[in-house]
Symmetry: C2
Subunit: 207 residues, 2 copies
Amino acid sequence: MRRKEPPEFKEVAPAAQAKRLRADASRNREKLIAIAAIAFAERGGAASLEDIARQAKVGIGTLYRHFPTREHLVEVVYRREVEALCDAAEELAQNNAPDVALSEWMQRFVDYIAAKRGMAHSLRILFDANSEVFANTSGMVTTALQRLVDAAVADGSIRSDVDISDISQALSGIYSAPDTPDWRDRSRRLVSLLMDGLRWGSAKSKM
Amino acid sequence: MRRKEPPEFKEVAPAAQAKRLRADASRNREKLIAIAAIAFAERGGAASLEDIARQAKVGIGTLYRHFPTREHLVEVVYRREVEALCDAAEELAQNNAPDVALSEWMQRFVDYIAAKRGMAHSLRILFDANSEVFANTSGMVTTALQRLVDAAVADGSIRSDVDISDISQALSGIYSAPDTPDWRDRSRRLVSLLMDGLRWGSAKSKM
DNA sequence: TCAAGAAACGGAGGCACCTCCGATTATCTC
DNA sequence: GAGATAATCGGAGGTGCCTCCGTTTCTTGA
């Protein structure tokens, strides 16, 4: 991260999704996003764009046509993952008891944050240039969480006096914790603890 | 700004200034700092380190030996300029009426900020890695300002009910103003205005 | 003054970023 | 289907970052 000064970052014409990509173009685009997600998770901001293009079996020019800057690529990957996380909430809710769904989802949240840590620097640049992205996505995450909590409260498997913002805060504490080697394990334990707290005193726990 | 992920930034052993540099080394070091100051002012973070080395008639290796990262170089340039600004306060106070000294110094402050805008990105990285630097320097600036204001108040050339923090805030407003083409002129006018306000109702204005 | 050793120099080389444009498709029209 | 054409591909090339290490220069002390 080094030379180009202000990260420019012209908006990608939000409404101008109009034009459909050619078949090969959209194929390449998807391939790039998939590879990039892995690369960012593994090597963080040190991931080489040329490597990503190479692994996707695509010329570097193609990568840059789709994503004019590193930050554009990061943004798309980031958005995709937030969406996946939120979709998971839906799916977990349908296939599990409400409290299990909530617990599992929070564990996935930890994994998700773990991946994000690698892209911290790019995300910060992105944030400076276009913080609206974050407003959108954090809203989505909150909504997903809210839905899971509501279901678990309605079901009586967690106590009814919980406030979403308390849980959010606990989760954001995970995000801002220092990046030690055991960060992930510790965070998972923290989530378990949080779940125990939520179950304690619930209607079901009294049965 | 691009690839190396966390800007590392090991401290340069604050107490270990012990070792004197060899004559040629310190010559080159000074030359690099001088050229870098100009380059950053002119081209901001887009200034090429190789260019700086070239203009200083020094190998790129020499530059990197003295300043292991771009941020190290930025820090030194930044510190030098803060010191120069503070020294200017002293000098202006000795050669001018107190209110003139204050006014002139604030104008220089504007110039100083103008130069900093170019290095905004590097300064931010530096701030994240070592915000102590900023605590020191902002203290120095405040002290310099305080001294000029006190002298002017004592002399009766500005009103006595001014608070340093008000002036600081006005100046920091200059810093955070959007970066329009006429930024500099506007800032200078703002300083003039501020000075008029400070003079109004002073002991001398009533004579 | 001079020689030896320490310190500093400097640039080649490897890698990444990003642009530019001729070659290569996919899609459309008939 | 076949040709036209517009969209897309891909990689060479120019620039910058940073490291590594053989060469040069300074300093020391005899």
